[in-house]
């Protein structure tokens, strides 16, 4: 079940630089940890995070097993026009989650 916490301003002045933060619930199992019986727990990570403002990509991050569980990302974006910021996480085992927030730019 996707559990995401996105933090972005609901409105901003045109040209202002706004901070966008996102937290997602995910174990980010590295694939290097031995389990209780000694065998390695298989890797299960988010590999890619992208952010699009009205469809144009404004940020992306390729993640490795070195990113902590329940990954947190913060980045900045110029408030160009009103619309939707779409965040997308994809990774192992077919993981694909999308979340969007609306921003009004005046």
């Amino acid at each position: 079940m996707a559990n995401v916490l996105v933090n972005a301003p609901k409105s901003a002045k045109r040209g202002a630089i706004v901070e966008i933060k996102a937290l997602i619930l995910h174990p980010m199992e590295t694939g290097f940890r031995p389990g209780p019986n000694g065998t390695i727990i298989p890797r299960n990570i988010i590999e890619r995070f992208t952010a699009r403002w009205n469809g144009a990509e404004i940020f992306s991050m390729d993640m490795s097993p070195a990113i902590s569980a329940n990954p947190f990302v913060s980045f900045f974006a110029v408030a160009t026009e009103s619309g939707t910021v779409r965040l997308r996480w994809t990774g192992d085992q077919g993981f694909a989650v999308e979340e969007q927030v609306a921003i009004t730019v005046e």
């Binding site: 559990n3 916490l5 997602i24 569980a69």
Partner: protein, 258 residues
């Protein structure tokens, strides 16, 4: 109010209540104060505290109907911000006609089985922790207020005895580290006073939110004792003692701890 401003207000409210608990020469320290600045910031920022993922989930579960009674928590309790305010700080407590104290998880279980006619949520399960985190969040900043119920006295005494009892291959008691040596260092980390001010807590070691019971089990493993069996009354008895010991200190919810 914009999210950063809300976060700032929350942080200020917390710090004020926290400072108030320290007035009058109260020298007790929450584990919060023994953490580095980076972790304190992580806890204080609701937009970045990983425990908030569980609080959010708990909020959704609060409104979700469950069991053969087809009721949600909200159906009986309404808005949690009103009905659950002050609840987490007075647990463990005795149910009206109960015979032993319940911690918050036990109380949630009781609601599920008796009122929602649903199955118990598994101990340490994501949904149970989420509900616990959501309920605890409604008491954030409030002083820990153990009830004066005389029925709790023998259980609290049991907890006090457990606190002082030497156990395990290392033959340590909780009191030896957390009363006698709090503030000194062990394996590079400051020994905290062990107040339950931040539970349920996002312990970095677990990479997930967890209960006080889980943390107590870690202590028992830490001094090479057999952890008490899941469901043992010892956990609630010890929590009762810990909450009395922490009376008046502000509740942080959800906490972040190393």
């Amino acid at each position: 109010m914009s999210a950063p401003r809300v976060a700032a207000v929350v942080a200020i409210v917390f710090m004020v209540s926290y400072a108030a608990a320290q007035v009058g020469g109260d020298k007790r320290r929450s584990g919060y104060r023994d953490m580095g600045e980076a972790l304190q910031k992580m806890q204080d920022d609701d937009t970045a505290n990983p425990g908030m993922l569980f609080v959010q989930l708990g909020g959704e579960l609060w409104s979700r109907k469950a069991g053969t009674a087809d009721k949600s928590c909200a159906d009986c309790h309404g808005e949690a911000s009103a009905s659950m305010k002050g609840v987490a700080v007075r647990y463990p407590a005795m149910a009206r006609d109960g015979d032993r104290p319940l911690d918050l998880e036990g109380r949630i279980d009781l609601c599920r089985t008796e009122h929602q006619k649903a199955e118990r949520l598994a101990p340490e399960s994501r949904d149970l922790l989420a509900l616990e985190a959501f309920v605890a969040r409604q008491s954030r900043g409030m002083p820990i207020a153990p009830p004066a119920d005389p029925r709790l006295a023998p259980f609290r005494a049991q907890g006090a005895a457990l606190w002082r009892q030497r156990q395990g291959q290392l033959n340590l008691s909780c009191a030896i580290c957390h009363d006698d040596n709090a503030g000194k260092r062990l394996a590079g980390i400051v020994i905290p006073e062990a107040h339950p001010t931040g539970y349920p807590t996002y312990r970095l070691e677990w990479q997930v939110l967890g209960s006080l019971k889980r943390r107590l089990r870690n202590c028992l493993v830490g001094f090479r004792a057999d952890p008490w069996p899941s469901g043992a009354s010892d956990y609630v008895a010890l929590e009762l003692y810990l909450m009395e010991r922490a009376k008046g200190m502000a509740l942080e919810a959800p906490g972040v701890r190393p």
